[in-house]
């Protein structure tokens, strides 16, 4: 039997990185940059290989069950009640056309925010219960995470098309842009401190420049995604929340306006590029 290819390839990737690490000790600062680029390419190859059997699909399966099942105090399914912008129950292409403005909620909503809204408004779940444990741990995956993964999978290989022509969405984009530039906190960081110029990185992680089309798509691709570190499924909402932490900002409220605005800015900047579906992250 072919024992866990994940493990085998990881060993391969680690030994490649190890060899590069040894080289850089004797090399100049310039050579280090080059080696870093090489290592990043090698890692990307490894990640792409893993994408072929992506555990995201397991969460997609659970999400499909949850989408179709009658649930909650009102005992209705999302499939028969939830409009993600394409009509009730329609999920084809919905993910790449969000965030968008929803008149029934009078808010600009990203996919996860909208799904949670439907769980509360249509199925009767309590928001506070959902928001208590909004993100996956190694023993628990929230329903909303599974649902977002399912919905996102139905936008695979479609072009990102955030409706920026809608004045409400455009306004959200503008606020998101301001937020990305807003400096505060103990280190006076903004998103742009880390994500506003090309070619920055922290340790081995390249930091995409979210203001550019090429950088913004990097911030969209692979979310929601399976994180190999820890083996858990995480969403864009989580990514934003974790970056607030890295920025030493107070934690934003789950599915808040703030996160929707930032996502509108970032995903809007990636408009026109192809989304590859739920992914796999380091």
């Amino acid at each position: 039997m072919d024992h866990s290819p994940q493990k085998r390839m990881l060993v391969g990737a680690l030994s490649t990185l190890g060899a590069l690490g040894a080289l850089t000790f004797s090399a100049s600062a310039l050579a280090q940059e080059i080696d870093h680029a090489k290592a990043a390419i090698e890692f990307e190859k490894f990640r792409a290989e893993m994408e072929d059997s992506n555990p995201s699909e397991l969460f997609e399966l659970k999400g499909e069950e949850l989408w179709k099942a009658k649930r909650g105090p009102k005992n209705v399914s999302l499939a028969e009640s939830c409009d993600l912008g394409q009509g009730i129950g329609k999920i084809e292409g919905a993910y790449v056309q969000m965030p968008r403005y929803f008149a029934d909620a009078d808010a600009v909503m990203d996919a996860e925010r909208r799904i949670v809204w439907c769980m509360v408004e249509k199925q009767g779940f309590k928001f506070d219960d959902i928001a208590k444990k909004p993100f996956a741990t190694d023993t628990f995956t929230p329903d909303a995470t599974n649902l977002v993964t399912y919905v996102a999978a139905h936008s695979k290989n479609m072009k990102i098309a955030v409706p920026l022509k809608d004045p409400k969405v455009k306004e959200a984009w503008e606020i998101g842009k301001e937020m990305a530039a807003y400096r505060a906190g103990p280190y006076d960081f903004s998103c742009n401190t880390c994500h506003g110029t090309d070619g920055k990185r922290i340790r081995m992680q390249d930091l995409p420049n979210l203001a550019t089309a090429a950088g913004a798509i990097k911030g969209v691709q692979g979310w929601p995604g399976y994180r190999m570190t820890g083996g858990i499924q995480l969403t864009h909402q989580w990514r934003m929340t974790d970056c607030f932490r890295q920025q030493r900002f107070p934690a934003p409220k789950y599915t808040s306006d703030a996160i929707a605005y930032l996502l509108t800015y970032m995903i809007g900047n990636a408009n026109g590029q192809v989304y590859k579906g739920p992914g796999i992250k380091r």
Partner: protein
Amino acid sequence: MADPMKIRAAMKGDVCEIRVLMSHAMETGMRKDSDGKTIPAHFIQTLTVALNGKAVVSGQAAPSVSRNPVFGFKVKGAKSGDKVTVSWVDNKGDKRSDEATVA
């Protein structure tokens, strides 16, 4: 009950390539939770692959295999339309069996 597997099976030349993605915690029994208590071992112990009901692979897995593992098998003597059944049993006696058709 355990969550479903995702099985892909396709002919490549005269070999059938099977890829199975399993949903399982695969706890090693070596980790501790935030209260310092050992998390009990919980892992897939045996797995089998059958082609049209006849076992073609049978194996044992161990706690060193990752969470939500992926397994790959190459089987000769299959053809498209055959039924692949993958089954596992874990150390707590929990089990799961799923099917796919060879493409």
